[in-house]
Amino acid sequence: MAVKTIKTPAVIIGGGVAGLAAAIDLSRRGLSSLVVERGPRLGGRVADFCCKATDSCVRCGACRLADLVRRVAARPEIAIYTSAKPVAAEADGDGWRLTLEPQRNNGPAPVVELAGGPLPRRSQVQAGAVILAVGATPFDPSAKSRFGYRRVPGVVSALELEGALEHSLAELAGGRDPRRVAFIQCVGSRDESLGHLYCSRVCCGFALRMARVIQARRPGTEITFFHMDVQTYGRAWAGELAEMREQMNFVRAMPGEVTAGPGGPQVVYAAGGRSQTAEFDLVVLSQGMRPPVGAAALSQLFACTRTSDGFLGSDAEPVASGAAGVFIAGSARGPMSIVESIEHGAVAAAAAAGHLQPLVREAAHA
């Protein structure tokens, strides 16, 4: 069977918010692109995030995804293949030649709402520029075994809490009505022992927003927030944080361990210079981000560099990759929020367009 070759100015690997933002900005610049998404649906991590507004919007940015999807849908220059990933790549003149392989995705087929669809067969892509927007990988809290993840009932990851927020928290808490909820911050971040010498930047805000939602839905729920430092930015947080300090128990200490107690998980932490134990119904581990699982393979495939934290790209430049014609967008480059990822996608698109400009001009002359 003949292998089909698709020609496109730019190919974007990863259909999360950064990849979609890059595609939109390329199309605004008059450049077509092909988005290649490994999973069955667009949106990446953000597609699983629910709205955390209580009285008013808390600026989590999750609903920006719907804006992006709507705009992608309105732009015929953007082609999309889901269930596809690059398996081979070689520099080819001024551009890149990629081989895409269909991916089998288990579970129900998603609701297809955009032009394009699953990649039907192995295909070749010839592109002038490549944007890697493969995202970061959430840290797996079981690697910090002392926090009891998957060992102690009632200990969950922040992403699991997110998934249950719109449904039932009792299920997460092993059937108990969660009236006492603890968050443990920096799980897998700011941790030299793991080689993760960075702050993941989003988990403080993520946890505090979820804590607010829980308190708004079940007034009187006691929230304890174990942390070292609170990272929130934006003017609006200043006032909100002061309010939260009144409503929640902020404990500046990293717990030593989480064990199973008779009435729920117990957090062992230090206060006043000694070890204390407090019992909760639910303990939430605020996992951070780590470099994309496929970072090593991708950096080999595209001959691109890694930052000192192990993400794709280089410390010195925001979107450059060390390889000509290859650019990095979004959280694949390092921890960033949704809004930052979207802006970063725009920067990658600008850089890719700059790279493509002479090529486009040449083609016009030929």
Partner: protein, 618 residues
């Protein structure tokens, strides 16, 4: 009135539906897209085949996202819902209004005014996108950098500007009227003032480092800000030199400010026999390399000291700092030989921006608005970037400039939806539209209402609020909306309900539900609007008088409305409609408003179910 044809495009969500039956029920003719006078197409313009889009150019067409409205359930129910939706769209298509796009061509020229890297980068990016650019620098060319930037970096960027950028120096923007596609700017040059028109305007006001106001007041002779620190000048002798570096302590502390303080502390600590105590509120390490830097400083020997708000006190003579060590819980004093105060980036939007007569709805706090990113301001086509927008020097400013340039290019090349039509004969010149338009689109010039050509987002707030029915973006006038409500409700089967759903939230949620097979009440008519603010009292009361048993308006959450406060207007107007209903003996519960986000489909399903129950109670 033109005859309306139904053009049916098969797609996911419409399985099993009979186009002919739907057309018949809705009272329109089924067509294959051949000769038409006016048409309803069952898919969106983006999803429709290109050939069809081209063929229908110039005709009154209503693109209907039918799959989003039908939902799941038994075939008969879906068929009835499809017919009502088609009838609703046909109702306004039959009036023959065409989407009049760009009756005035938007001006493509871009003005970038201000100084610094953000300004130069924005000019560069806009030029790369094909726009002629005027870069009006407030300063002389050689000193184009902001006070918080490296002059060499800005100079390099200036030298690399492409030829389409015209650079003028010593020039300030002193007045700005208009909006996207047609701005009228007054520029004050070194010798004279000039007026010029632009399609988009990017402001990059000067920024500088400033010591936050809540810093302890230590003696002047031992105190200096980070930017004036020259670490090489310091070293201890037999006695250690004790330095205190104070990072931003207040709730507004940023990661950039923290990183600057830590950098200073590290440099000082490297000096012989210097001991640095770094005071901080929270270690704001959420910046690239921030955690690494903080670790390096501690490893070098910097003593990190957390103090609670207000916990760092100064003696009367300004030479002793007192605080509680958070670990020991004991009071500690320090007599520093040197106090270094951290700084934060500050910058202000130009004062004239705050003038409500010049620009509507500008607010300093808008930078946090989730839909006003990429330097966007409430006023469509006007961007504010750089330090005044909180961007740290260097890459963050370049990034913001690139995003703003792409955004304005999108606007000037057709992302703005339409130009609102003004019927001068009806206009009472009350200036309501000028006042309420959240995007600053509508101006009053030369004795009439003059909307800008590439700025309107068709939110419809002006239409809902105008007392004279004189202004509406094409397709969204009262006449069209009432016609479509009437046709849709007439065709609807069973207990009739109306859902006005904002396209930025409610319609996305409805679409997700429909495509997942959610079964809507049979008589529910969905009416998509670009902003809930389009739904005024009149439309709600009309829906009821046309037979709806209940009306639900779904708008975005407070603080998330793309049109700033369209959602709150909708809430207010829904409340007024409910009050009116109560006054004439109706049940106010028949009119409801809800805040919603696109990713909250369950909340919408529940609210619709509750509305159906209320309406059914009678």
């Amino acid at each position: 009135m033109p005859e309306v044809s139904l053009i049916w495009i098969e797609e996911a969500g419409l399985e099993g539906l009979d186009p002919a039956k739907a057309a018949k029920k809705a009272g329109v003719a089924l067509s294959d897209g051949g000769l038409v006078e006016a048409a309803v197409v069952t898919t969106t313009e983006a999803r429709a085949p290109r050939s069809l889009v081209n063929r229908l150019k110039g005709y009154p067409v209503k693109w209907l996202d039918l799959a989003a409205e039908v939902g799941g359930g038994p075939l008969a129910l879906r068929q009835a819902r499809a017919a009502a939706a088609v009838a609703r769209a046909a109702g306004s298509a039959a009036l023959g209004t065409m989407a009049q796009r760009y009756t005035r061509q938007p001006n493509q020229e871009v003005l970038v005014a201000g100084r610094g890297l953000a300004a130069v980068a924005a000019a560069h990016q806009a030029a790369a996108l094909g726009h002629p650019v005027l870069l009006a620098l407030e300063t002389t060319r050689a000193r184009a950098a902001c006070a918080d930037e490296k002059p060499a970096e800005v100079k390099r960027a200036l030298a690399g500007l492409p030829a389409q950028v015209e650079v003028v120096t010593g020039t300030e923007l002193v007045e700005l009227l208009g909006a996207g596609g047609d701005f009228q700017a007054r520029l004050q040059g070194p010798r004279r003032t000039s007026r010029r028109r632009f399609g988009a305007v990017v402001l990059a006001p000067p920024s500088a480092y400033a010591v936050p106001g809540d810093m302890p007041a230590t003696a002047e002779d031992i105190t200096l800000p980070v930017s004036r620190l020259k670490p090489k000048q310091y070293q201890g002798g037999e006695q250690w030199l004790q330095a205190a570096v104070i990072a931003p302590l207040g709730p507004g502390a940023t990661a950039h400010g923290f990183a600057r303080a830590v950098t200073a502390a590290l440099a000082l600590q490297k000096r012989p026999r210097v001991q640095v105590t770094l005071f901080l509120g929270e270690a704001k390490v959420a910046s690239e390399g921030g955690e690494r830097l903080y670790r390096d400083a501690r490893r070098q020997g910097v003593l990190a000291m957390r103090v609670e708000p207000g916990g760092l006190r100064v003696s009367r003579d300004g030479r002793k700092l007192s605080f509680d060590d958070p670990v020991l819980g004991e009071p500690v004093d320090l007599r520093p030989d040197l106090v270094v105060l951290s700084e934060e980036v500050t910058g202000r939007a130009p004062a004239w921006l705050d003038n409500p007569l010049v620009t509507t709805a500008w607010d300093q706090d808008l930078p946090d608005h989730p839909r006003l990113q990429a330097g966007r301001t409430a006023r469509s086509g006007l961007y504010l970037i750089g330090g005044a927008r909180g961007a740290a020097p260097g890459d963050p400013r370049r990034a913001q400039a690139a995003a703003a340039a792409a955004d304005l290019h999108g606007l000037l090349s057709g992302e703005a939806v339409a130009v609102p039509a003004v019927r001068d004969v009806l206009c009472a010149s009350c200036l309501t539209c000028v006042r309420v338009c959240p995007h600053g689109v509508v101006c009053y010039a030369e004795d009439h209402i003059a909307p800008a050509p590439a700025a309107c987002l068709a939110c419809g707030v002006c239409t809902a609020e105008c007392p004279a029915e004189a202004i509406a973006p094409p397709g969204w006038s009262n006449r069209e909306m009432i016609a479509s409500l009437a046709a849709g409700l007439k065709a609807a089967a069973g207990d009739k309900l109306v859902l006005f759903a904002c396209r930025n939230s409610g319609m996305d949620a409805a679409r997700a539900l429909s495509l997942a097979g959610h079964q809507w009440p049979k008589g529910l008519l969905m009416v998509p609007v670009n902003c809930a603010g389009r739904v005024g009292v009149q439309l709600i009361l009309r829906a009821l008088s046309l037979g709806a048993g209940g009306v639900l308006v779904a708008g975005c959450h407070q603080g998330n409305c793309r049109s700033l406060n369209g959602n709150l207007r909708a809430k207010l107007r829904s409340g007024e409609a409910a009050d009116l209903l109560a006054q004439v003996g109706g049940r106010p519960e028949q009119v409801r408003f809800m805040h919603l986000a696109s990713n909250q489909p369950r909340a919408l399903a529940q609210a619709v179910a509750e509305l159906a129950q209320t309406a059914g109670e009678k």
